[in-house]
Every structure is written in structure tokens, then in C-alpha cells.
Symmetry: D2
């Protein structure tokens, strides 16, 4: 392949492009936890497509299934017609994921993106309850279309809507305020006839906030939220788009908290291969949709059915979850040690599973560290309203060697940056 | 492949599924204008994935490029990082489509679905103008997320939102009211300081309404709309998601009207292969996005870049447009004759190009005809607020033989249905 | 009384003040159709408090009843407690107004202003129908609080809200567009499942638009509006705040059109004396209010009950309506002749009853005429989105001599202004 | 006067009437703190027109000025034209109220009701800041038109709107949650870029919540609110409609807290005599209104100017405030003792000044006590979202004898009710 003229992006692609500014290479190939650019430079990927590549790049089993499917002229695009590929996905998702976890959910295919599953969840909750408002939480992120943006906390992203965003009330996420009063506060609002807050259709939340700063809610807080929802007849929507599919150590992020959401939103890593794919899960008694009441052109992406079905095989092996959890501990230990050894970070380890990072109170430091890491061949991202977190998002299939390589680069990057005088 | 138990969909998939109810087969393979189900039954496809498969199924050139790309571990998922596959698409889209048409547009990758390009267009129009309202038109359809739904006319779909939809004003589409006053009316609203209607950020419309009943606006009406937009400083957004990519005989549906929209929304057939993919085009001076102000996990679907680039080759050959237009004439002539020969239809031919049909005033008739056609091996759909249109959406790459086969089935279906007493 | 220093208003009163800029005198006394300022200058009042002083100033019978009531320590302020004064008003309103007109309405006291009766009407219509949207009409004016402003057409006034105004759809008022298609258009919107317009809770309109340019709807149009409302189960609200209480020649402005609104809003001249007072009338079966569901501190203004009861005596005499109508004819004839004799006005006579004027296409001319008239001792106002109308609003109790004095001043003012070169 | 048939109200007045259900007499006369019904029964008034009759009924000085004004044919209704009566009010309000308190405010006459001054304040705050949202507080009450209702907390009243209410965020009022974290919480929302809460145009609050349960904010909390507003450039609106004009012991309720609001809303007792009247005060630099941008038919109620001017004379005597404060102490002591002596109330004394009561945790008890008191000749009301407070609102001009008579009836009523077994 010949070298690409970089100016093509500057000249013809919209200014809205963003990651390409932080990672200014032209990528061509990828395999597992590695990526290569046109110049042949190799990168370790601790970013995983913002959580869409939990199984790494181009997993060989999925790849071979996909190539075989395409070669045989398998149906590619089917809207919501029945196809064999779809039947296989549904069947295996039920057998490997839902049944063993005793989860009784209907599956909806709402269109292939995270924001689409969130929009469908909000519509359904409003339809089922006949109510309009939805409680969301500080620093929650749920997507960029107007419905999802309405329940997203980030001020800059909300402003981008260009119109006021309504029918949502923001409540404090776990640990948003220092004292542990956030749930008292929430209940006071629901109880009072004078709070200006209607009983909402639903609450929507991430168990670990990805874009909002890698904040992990405690299991106790999550359980209490579930209880409050039950008490008031409010539907609990878990947006597991980023935290799901093994990212926190279990298939669904909410499993260790012992809660059972009414509605679950999944996308990103669900196809396993990085292909656009999303599902919305909900209790059968909520399934009061009229045919076609929510639809979308690409809700039948059969290539994704094929790779998603193949990806589910990982979860047939009970050792798989353990391996993620073991590696999670390595990551945690690494971060704790790095943080202890580096008081200049003024940091705190945050998150859980493969969804972790260090939040630093030093302005601009996290961005410098990720930029330095890129120079040294590691791709990683910042998070939080002020980019105050540098986050580690390796593929959950990475081996220990890959992890250690990444850790080394992070350690070196931190040291290198802290040697320079911090100016802002 | 073994036979699939059909109950798997009924048991596990949400009631929201819809096309599978009209076309109750389990599909496995497809090629060109043909599809096959598990039982080996062959179907002629006059539906084309609701306009997402304009080049037919599994085009051999695109397929071979895609398999090659996957086999080489080409990057699959890249968010908005730069990749070689993306660069090739941008470059070829510019060379083959924009330049020859003297269109100066920046390209935005907003997420891979039609509703996503519409949401991005609305955001941008509001940002550029600092205004909130958008004028849409009766029977317009623009998508199912809250932003797009706000500019969609269909009452049932709007109701599905579960919340009031604001910041849009509906104006009459060409021929919505009998007299030709719709534009006078629109101008009166804009002129009057007392109309309750603010000068809007944008007007959004389809040149041929796909879901709303295959209504084709006259070129004269479109030109006047463009003039009104210019006069009032309103941005003109053409939603070419369904009517674009050759469906009406030219790459963009608005070309023969001689207008140049400020913003163009494209998706559906853009990838050529049925893969999720969308772009938003706009004049460079409108490109005031901040980096990441609109984003999405799957805005870098490299498989789609590869097939979309391959699909553009069709347009390098100037004969391609002519062939679509010649076949369009065949379709039109067939429909006119069918309509003349069958006064019981109480019908009228509607649409243009490969986006046509017959609107019948007989309640329920169009649905019966499409059901009968399916029994006879032809897949086609109804359209319009009351399903009053049966529409013909063959692939634009179909050969004359395929067209004739389809025509025959339609003719037979119409005859067969009209023999039965029409009860509703 | 000593002379007032005019600077007190400039120094201490808000810039929002407006009429005092057009009529820059300090008024002290008033009687019938005459007003006097501190300097003793006499003015003829063809303005009538924007329709709040239909019986002229300080009517001697009302005045004597009021002074007697106050002198006896009659209850002044009673919220919605029962008082003798209120009972007398209710009883007489029923006997003199409702019964003879065969109108079966419950009476609500919503707070003492026009905007308050409109807000209560909108609330009730939404409660009764369970719907949210309300259709209003181009150039309609219904008040300045957010609910009323949402159904008001004037762009500048709407902008003053500082927030987007929702749940209303503006339709063309009679003669807003040149052809007579406004009702076809309205029905098309209601019929179509694809119009983006929900079936509304209500339509609200004035039979003659006061602020919007003295546009009088034809009786035929009003009847058809009533029929459309009936057909679709939409409540018809007539805002008779300005056109009611005899202003158009009958007590209710809608009487000659032969329609019976579901809800009627009244205020302005209802107290007879210029005191704050409003009522909302509606069919008994609509009276599903919960106690206190709409309330207000001043809904029991007993001084107004006393004067309003006295004012109703006018209507016991059947000659009263005739006298208004006879004088209306004088006004109309005067305007027609003035308009014919003065082609430079480029004008058209508009309105009906005592709610008339001339709309002039010459920019700024109407304002010049009213300013000139003030110099010559006549108080009159402009109307319309661009102040293009000079309007005649004398008290309906004025005698012929008073009318003629006013006519003379108008004639002289027009002549005087047209002698000057019109510059703008 | 003959006896009124009570059925006239049931037959002809809307079901929305409410106080007449609790106080089922037909009132005719009133003087000071006494009212009489048609049967000649005398009542002591501890209700004061819900705060609109702070000076008692038919104050003799105001009455004589008013009768004199009317007798002389003084202008009654003047919109916002200049009148002598208005000039005198402005001048005296400035001299007696503003200047001595070193308050530099422009005066706006927004229409004669509480909700109208609130609507004007919200409009102005949005215009000045260019922002849309307003922070209000739990259990706040600001009026019944849509703008004011949007910042009102009461769920039942909000529901009455029939439409969703937007552009407001409810924050916890002082002591709404048990711990003292409400201000931390508020600041966290403003600080965080991820809270979903925009920086608002204004905060609006009552220093003592009248309808919401006689909750008095601490001076410390009020000061901190003012500081937060200053820090973030948020306008502070004090709604002094009910708590103002001496009700809490000073002319403005906020004086002892040492704060200076940007905007102050006044109505209810402002006219002194119970006549509809309201003003909006704001710092001169906020006075960016265009002429007529907010208006209203009854913003020039000259009768109210006359009585309001007379009422201001009370405040020329510095002893007046002291006398209110001395009597306030009597009320407070009475309530504290009553509460201590009556543990069955399960109560707590609330409020301050002449705006006090006892909140009882016994369901329905407060309503029983006020009903019993009415039987015994005392008019008083309940308050709070569940009517859990019985409140004392005597005129601030009441003498000690009047107070004691009221206290006795309250004491007896409480005892009498508590003797009965409490059933609910």
C-alpha cells in the first residue's frame, strides 16, 4: 500500500474529527492488542476502540467465520427479517449468557449503535409507565442523539444539541457529593409532593461511568438504587454499552452487585469484532412494543450476528471470566503501586475490572501522559469532564506479556513527564 | 445448514419486529436481485433493504475487496482515527462524486445510520445559525431517535417518542393541499411578524418521500424552496438517505432539480454492500464543529469504507446513470399501463426513478397485493401513512430480465387479488 | 393638586413603560369619553383603556354603587369565599346575559386579568381532553404570561419569553393567505396521519383580532371552525377579552356568527369601571376542576363585583345593543368615506362594531396620524404587527356629538399629516 | 340586605372554588381584624386574605382617601400612562421604603397579581443573562400561570398545567434534607461540567415559604445563597409576594438576613386595602426592557395607587416595625407554649414574624383544628404539601386584645379536637 497524504483528512474531513488529532498516524492493520500504521510502526492498544474491541482486533476465530459467511453469499443486510445468522445469535445468546445467569429477557435489535439502544430503552420505559421524565446521574454519558443526550450530564455535549434538553432530572451519582447523602436526597425528592420532580418513568445509569471519569458505583449503592426503583415503580435501565461484555470482569457489569435491571442496553463489544451492533434487553412483561414502533435500517447487520455468535464461545468456558479477573488484579496492583510511588500525580486509582485509571488533580497532567505514551507506542485515552483521568482499557483477551509491555510504557511516560516542569 | 425453529423469534425476540411478519421466511443467502430462504425457495427482491441495497446483494467486486481486506487483518474499527481505508474512500468520493458535480462539501462521519446523519445535520444547522426551530414537511420521515423524530410527520411514530416533540414546524409538502398554495403559505408564515413561527435554522426534506408515500416533489417546487431558504438565511438540508445513491437515477436525488443543498444526509446504500455507514456533507464554511462535538462509536466502520469505495467505481462509468434512467422508464411505463388497465385500483402512479409505486384509494388493497406477490416469490413493500401505496424498489443494477420477472408477478398478483371480492 | 415632576417616571419607573411615551401627559380626572391632565387640557378618548373602558370613565351609577359599598365597609378582598357582592354578580350575569342568550355556562373566577382567564381556559381544555397541544391563529394575541404567550403569534412578544414556547401550533386566521384555503389547510393537517400535528386539546381565537391588526373573521369562517372543532372533538375557546362586553355590538362578540364556544374568556370591560376582573365561562360538563386547582389571590375583587353588577343594567334595556349598532354604522361610514376621500392612505377599512380602523400600506403613517391626533386632543392607538392600523376604540356609551368631535380631529389629523412629505 | 341563596354558588360557580368550602358563610362586611357574614355572625380573621390584608380590612385612612378619589372622578384605569396617583405612589415608595433602606431599585408595574410579577421577573432574568434555566427550591410556590408554575414545587399544582414544565431545576430548600448539605449539593451541581445542570439565569425563592409549609430559611442560608449567586453571575429573585409588606416584621422579608436581591416580586398586601396590585423591583442596570415588552391591561390600577400610598404612611413611623415585632414575639410564645403543653400534636413551631404555625405529624389534625376554630369564630388556614401545618396569619395591625381572642379560640379548638379520638 502506498503512503497516504495526510492532508486528505484536513482538506476534506470535517473539523469534528477528534481521535485522529491525539493519535496522528494512519493505521492499516491490527491483530489482538497490536495495531500498525502505514509506516510499519507497531502500537500496543490500551484503548480498545473506547470499549468496542474488548476481544482485541481481528480475532482469528471470528474472522474465519465472517470470511466464510461472506464467501458463501450469506445475507448481509436484512432489516428485521428472520435470517439463519440471527437465529443462531439469539439462540446462543440465550444459552450462553441469559440462561446460566437466570435472566429472563426479550431481545430487541434497535439499530446498531449505543445511542440507538438507549433511545429505544427510554421510549419503552415511557410507553410502559405512561410517564415522561427519566432520572439520570451526574457525569453519566449515554449518547449523542437528542434522546440520549437528554440523559447525559456533560455540559459541553449537551450544549451541542442546540436546543434545550428536557424530561430528565439529574441526581447525584455515588460519591458525587462528599457525604453519603445522595440516596437520601434522591428519596426526599421522590417522596415530597413539593419537590418539583415527578415520579419518573425510569432511572438510567452506568455501573462504571466510562466517559464521566471512570467512576465505579459501589454495589451497595446500586442495590439501594434498585430498591428505590422497586418501591416507586420506576424502571431501572442499566446502560452496559461500555461497561458490559466483560469489561468489568463479568459479562454484564451489574452481576456482582446482585441486581437485575428491568432494561439493559448493550452495544460496542457485543459483535466481538468491532462491527456496529446493539441490543436492548428487557423483561418479557415490558414487551408491549407495536411492530415497527422503533425501527432502523441497520438493525439486521448479519456480519455482526456471525461474529457476535462466535464471540459468545469465549463465555462457554468458565475460566474466561476468571482470567479477566486475574488480569484485572494485575492492572489494579500496577496502578496502586504507580500511584503510591508517584505522589506528584496527586492521584487516586479509580474504576474496576479492565475499566480503570488514575484521576489526577494536576491540571492537564493526564493528557500529557497519554500523549507521551503514544510517542512511546501505547494508545490510551483520558476521561472525565476535565480530562483529569488517564484510563487503561486493554482488550480483556490480552496476555500478561502484553499487559506488562503496556505498564512499562505508562511508567516511563509518567516519569518522563514528571521530570519536566508542569506548566499549564 | 439445518432448519431453524421459527419459534425462536417469537419466544426471544421483541414484539417490535415487523418485516419478518410480512415476509415469514428464514433467509440465508442472497445474490444480486435474488434471495433464498432455508428451504431453498428463491425470491426476487423489489425491496432492496428499504433502499439500503441499491446495488443488489453481495456484489462480487465489493465482496472480493472486503474478503481480501479482512483476510489481511485490515483495521476493522477505528472510531475517527485516520486509516488507509478511510483515506481511500474520502479520496474516491471526492474524485468520482463531488468534483464532477462541482460540489464543494466537507465530509463528516457521524455514526453509521440514517438517523445519526440527520441528528448531526440538525445540530450543525442550529449551531451555525444560533436558532432552534427546523421546518419539516408533511409526511416527511427522518429517523427514530428523538432529534430526527421531531422532524418526522408520521403521527404513530411521533407518539412512540413518549414525550412531546418540539422545535419543529410542519409545512405542507408539494401537493399536500390541492391548490398550489403551499409555498405562498410558507412564505406568509416567514414574513409575518405575527405567525408564531420563528425564522428557523433549517428546512429538512426528502426530494422523494420514501416512507411517507413515494411523493416526488416537482423540480420547480424544490427550486423555490431553495430560493426561500436563501432569501431568509435558512439552511437547506436534503435528507438523501433513501432517495440518494442512484435510487432516483442520479447519485444525489436533487441533481436534476438544479439545487445545491447546504447540508446533505446520506446512509443506506452508501456502503454499497448493506453495511452500516453514513456521511453528512456540508459547505466548508459551515464546518464550525469543535472536535468530538458530535461523535459515535461506529463512525469508523472500515469494512464499509472498503465496500463503499468499491461501489463508487460504478459511477466512474457515465453509462451507469443512463442505464438506471432507461430502466426507470421501463418501470414507469409498466406502472402506467398497469394502472390504466386496472381501473379497480383507483390508483395513481407516483414517485420517480427506481422509487415508484401506485397509490390506491381502495383501503387495504396495496397490502393485499404485496402479500400476494410474496406468495408468488416477489418481495415488495407498501408505503404511506395508511399503507396506501405498493412500491417498487428493485436494485438499480437489476437487468431487464429481472425487472420483467418482477413485473409479471406484480401483474398476476394484482389480477388475482382483484378477482376476490375486496373486503376490509 | 400640585404639578407633578415628570422626571419621576423616567428616574424611577422601568423602561418597560410604553403608552406614557405616546401620550406624554399626566392624567388626573376622567368622565365618560373625556380625560383631563394636570394642566387642565381635555382629551377625547377613542382608546378606552385598550378595551377596558367600554362604558367610558367613571360611569355615575357604578361610581355611586361603589362609593356606597366602600363606605359601608363592604368586604373588599375575599379570595374565593362567598360574599353577597359575588352572589349578586353571579345572579345578575346569569339573568341578564346567559339566560336570554340560552347559554348554559358555569362561571369561574380565575384571577383578575385577561391572561389569567386564558391560562385557566388552556389548563381546563388540556385537563378535559388529556391532550397537550392547542391550535392558535396567525396574529392572535392572548396575553403575556408563558401559557398565554405560547398561543400568541407576535414574534417580538414571543421572543420576550426568553424560553422556547411549545404545545401550540399556529394556523392561518381568516384571510391570512390570499386564497380561501386556510380551512382546507387546517383540515388537511388534522386528517393526515403524517402532518406532524397532533389532534389538539383546543383551538383558541378572537373573533376580531385586537392587537393583531383589527382583523375580523367572517361569520362563515367562524362557523366552519366550530364545525371542524366538533368533528374532531376539539374544544373551541373564544378569547373575548377585548372583543367582548359590547365592543363589537353584542355582549359576546360571537353572537352574530351563531356559534357557541365551549369556553369563553372575558376580562377588560367586564367590571365596567376599569377595575381588574376576569371570568372564564364553560359548559357545565367541562367543569371537572378540583377545588383550588387553579387559583389566585385577587379572584375575589368585590369592588369589581359591585361595578360589574351595575354595568349589567345597561344590557337589561334591549335598546342598548341597537344604539351601539347604530353608532357602529356611523363609525363605519366615516371610515369608508375618509378612506375613499384619501387615496394617499393606500388604506382599507377593517374590523367591525366599535372595533375598527384603517390599515394603511404606507409605512409609519398610522403612527403619525395617532400622534397628530393626540396633539389635537384625541387619544387613539395603532394596531398590527407593524403598527399599520390606526384604530377607533371609543366608549360604546359615547353620544353622537362625541363621535363627531373625534371624527373631526381624525380627519384634520390625516389631512395635516398628508400635507407633509411622508418620509420614513 | 336580604339573605343570599347559597345554592347560587353551587349551581353557577365552577367546582374550582375552594376557600368557600372551608369557610361556608356568605360574608358581607369587614373592619380591621373582624369579618361579618349575612347572618351577623362575627369572625376574627387570622387569615388576612392569604397575606393580602396585612393591614386588616377597610383601614379607615385608606378608605377615606379612596372614597375621596373616586368621588372626584380620579382616573381609575390608565394602563401605563402617567397619572398623578401613580406619581405619588412612586415618589412615596421611594422616600419611605427604598431610600431609608439604601435600596436602589427601578419599579415596574407588571399587571396586578403575584403571578404576573413573578412572570415578569423570570422574563427579565432570562433577557439580562441570555440563559433559560431557573433554579427554584423544594416546596416553593410562585403562582399558577405556566411561567410561575414552572418554578413551583407542588406536584398537584404542577400536574394541573396539563403540559410538561421546563427550564427549571429544583434544589433543596434550607432544611429540606436532614443534614446541612443542601448548599454543598447546589454548588456541586453548578461546579461540575457533568451535572446536566446549566448555569441558570436566576434563583427564585421565598425567605419564608407560605404555601409550602411555613418554612423559614435561616439568615445564614440566605446569605450563602446570595454569595453563590454572586460567584456564578446568577440573578437572585426574592418572591416577597406573601412574606413581604411587614408580614415577617420588616417591610421586605429579606432585610434582617442582610441580603440585597437583584429582583424583588411584590403584590398581595402592597395596595394595603386588598386591591389587585403588584410591582417588580430590580437594580437599574438590569432595566433593559424594551417599551411594552411585558404589559397587561390592569397595570395602572389607580385605586390601588391611592390606597398603597396611604398604606405607606404606616412605615413613616419607626415604631410600626417594633410593634409588629413585639406582637410577633407574643405569637411565637403562644405557639411554643401550646406545643409544649400539647404533646399529642406531635408538633413543631415553624415560621417567623406574623407568618407562623405549628406543623403536626398527626395526619389530618391541622385541618380538624382549623375547621373547629371556624366553628368557634376564627378564620385560619392550613399550609404545606399535605396540609400538615395550621398557620396564624393575623393582620400586622391587630391589637393585643385581638391576638388574645384568637389565641383563646385556637387553644380551645386544639383541646376540643384532641378530646375526640383522632380518626383519619
Amino acid at each position: 500500500m502506498s503512503q497516504t497524504d495526510k492532508s486528505i483528512f484536513e482538506e476534506f474531513e470535517s473539523e469534528v474529527r477528534s481521535y485522529c488529532r491525539n493519535f496522528p498516524s494512519i493505521f492499516t492493520k491490527a491483530k489482538g492488542y497490536k495495531m500498525w500504521d502505514e509506516a510499519g510502526q507497531e502500537y500496543i492498544d490500551f484503548f480498545s476502540g473506547a470499549g468496542a474491541l474488548n476481544y482485541g482486533h481481528n480475532d482469528p476465530v471470528m474472522k474465519s467465520k465472517l470470511v466464510e459467511y461472506i464467501s458463501n453469499d450469506g445475507i448481509t443486510h436484512s432489516l428485521d427479517m428472520a435470517t439463519s445468522a440471527k437465529a443462531e445469535f439469539i439462540s446462543k445468546f440465550n444459552d450462553v449468557i441469559l440462561k446460566p445467569r437466570k435472566l429472563d429477557y426479550k431481545i430487541m435489535f434497535p439499530g446498531p449503535t449505543g445511542t440507538n439502544t438507549v433511545e429505544s430503552a427510554l421510549k419503552l420505559a415511557r410507553k410502559v409507565t405512561g410517564r415522561t421524565d427519566v432520572i439520570s446521574f451526574t457525569n453519566g454519558f449515554h449518547g449523542m442523539t437528542i434522546g440520549s443526550l437528554s440523559v447525559t450530564g456533560n455540559a459541553a455535549k449537551r450544549k451541542g444539541a442546540g436546543i434545550p434538553l428536557h424530561h430528565s432530572v439529574t441526581m447525584p451519582y455515588d460519591n458525587f457529593v462528599d457525604n453519603n447523602s445522595s440516596l437520601d436526597y434522591l428519596e426526599s425528592f421522590l417522596e415530597g409532593g413539593g419537590s418539583g420532580v415527578d415520579i419518573p418513568a425510569a432511572m438510567i445509569l452506568e455501573t462504571v461511568q466510562g466517559e464521566g471519569g471512570i467512576n465505579a458505583a459501589s454495589f451497595d449503592w446500586l442495590k439501594k438504587i434498585e430498591q428505590i426503583c422497586k418501591r416507586w415503580g420506576i424502571l431501572l435501565i442499566i446502560d452496559d454499552v461500555q461497561a458490559g461484555v466483560g469489561r468489568t470482569g463479568t459479562f454484564f457489569s451489574f452481576e456482582p452487585a446482585g441486581i437485575t435491571p428491568d432494561i439493559v442496553c448493550m452495544s460496542k463489544s457485543l459483535s466481538g469484532f468491532g462491527l456496529p451492533f446493539a441490543i436492548t434487553l428487557f423483561h418479557p412483561e415490558l414487551d408491549i412494543w407495536s411492530p415497527g414502533e422503533h425501527n432502523g435500517t441497520f438493525r439486521g447487520n448479519n456480519h455482526a450476528f456471525v461474529t457476535a455468535t462466535a464471540a459468545l464461545s469465549y463465555w462457554e468456558d468458565k475460566e474466561f471470566e476468571k482470567s479477566i479477573q486475574n488480569k484485572s488484579k494485575m492492572i489494579h496492583d500496577f496502578l496502586v503501586k504507580l500511584n503510591q510511588d508517584t505522589p506528584e500525580l496527586n492521584g487516586e486509582v479509580c474504576g474496576r475490572g479492565f475499566m480503570t485509571g488514575i484521576v489526577s488533580e494536576v491540571d492537564g497532567l493526564a493528557s500529557k501522559i497519554t500523549a507521551e505514551a503514544f510517542e512511546r507506542g501505547l494508545i490510551m485515552e483520558t476521561s472525565g469532564p476535565n480530562d483529569e483521568v488517564f484510563k487503561l482499557f486493554p482488550p480483556i483477551t490480552i496476555d500478561e506479556d502484553g499487559l506488562k509491555k503496556g505498564f512499562n510504557i505508562i511508567e516511563e511516560s509518567v516519569k518522563s513527564i514528571l521530570k519536566e516542569p508542569v506548566t499549564n
